[in-house]
Symmetry: C2
Subunit: 216 residues, 2 copies
């Protein structure tokens, strides 16, 4: 797979070593996370809204209520920034200054396209469900025509994209290595806990394996 | 504590029941998380950048390299949006349409102020460290004058703020409750794993209790 070409707007300038532009890295981060933060401007005021997404190749899909201000704004072709961030750990240095966070992030710039073709729209809805939980789509009731109408789906082509990755241990100033301070990384991971069955269920359904063994 | 007053820009319009404007809720979300997404506009293009923050009362502090474009832009008084999101679980309904995510988020709008007073700046740096890991500041080497100079600190007063919270199980359409589909919540939590000591340490330091027992 080819690399994304960094532009003036996506080239990582601060700590350029952390910048990544290859599709493998970008796709892998997008597939590991499921939450993104969507940024848009209205009359000079930025708004940043958390939401879910799906991915197919070099297209990221966003969705929400047809009544959502964000989706209405973006479907008019306003510039958007979609950012995905995974936190991997706290980097504990010997000096306060060199504390850091291990993370993987992707920043996507562009304009989104309203998905109107019913087939692409349904496929995007499948992607949202499967992105959050692989195996779920085939078990649940699929969207009705009315639900499809109530949902706006936007497609953002991956064009101006960069990833940024920090990994590994702390990097301290040479004299600080002799300080009597524990230094290292505290890895963090988003983990599933015990599933909670809906008390309103009317039939006692077994817990599917894809939930029991959930991991990202 | 009094409530924040919702404005036209912060009032939660979609699913207004999820909107919260009380300081307890807002502060609790800000204290539970440590990653925020900062949104700003440059020539009509929004940018959303992940970063850390600290909080003191109704002030949120951001920081970074003095060379950072984001911090330079914001210190000029450009409007900013800072969003903090915690994911609490996947809400698995019987229909694809009613799938959801349990989350807590805060959206803060305003303009940031450059922190120039050295005392406030040092205190903000203490807050960043303590926000990520309580107990850490007293053990590490504190910032030198040079490090302080290399760091830009911005203060965002909490004025136009709203929180949004979704919790609980799935809400399905009545006919769907009889479908043979497991429904419920898969709780998710960011958890620490085994700390990894820096192999470059020169003395064998014991692991402090605040790392061993880390939780948010």
């Amino acid at each position: 797979m080819s690399d994304f070409i960094p532009t003036e707007r996506t080239q990582v300038k601060r700590l350029p070593k952390r910048g990544k532009y290859d599709r493998e890295t970008v796709h892998a981060i997008l597939d590991a996370a499921f939450l993104c933060h969507v940024g848009f401007c209205v009359e000079g005021q930025p708004y940043v809204i958390p939401t879910n997404y799906g991915r197919s190749g070099d297209t990221v899909y966003l969705h929400g209520s047809a009544a959502s201000r964000m989706l209405r704004t973006l479907s008019e072709g306003m510039p958007v920034c979609v950012t995905v961030t995974l936190v991997d750990g706290l980097v504990l240095a010997r000096s306060a200054f060199h504390h850091s966070v291990n993370y993987r992030s992707v920043v996507m710039l562009g304009t989104a396209r309203l998905v109107e073709d019913p087939k692409e729209k349904m496929e995007a809805l499948r992607l949202f469900t499967e992105h959050v939980m692989r195996g779920r789509w085939d078990e649940v009731r699929w969207p009705t025509e009315q639900e499809l109408k109530a949902t706006t789906v936007l497609a953002l082509p991956l064009k101006e994209v960069s990833a940024k990755v920090r990994s590994g241990g702390p990097v301290d100033d040479e004299p600080d290595y002799s300080l009597p301070v524990w230094a290292g990384v505290l890895p963090l991971e988003m983990l599933p806990k015990q599933p909670i069955a809906d008390p309103q269920r009317k039939a006692d359904q077994p817990l599917p394996a894809y939930i029991k063994n959930y991991s990202r």
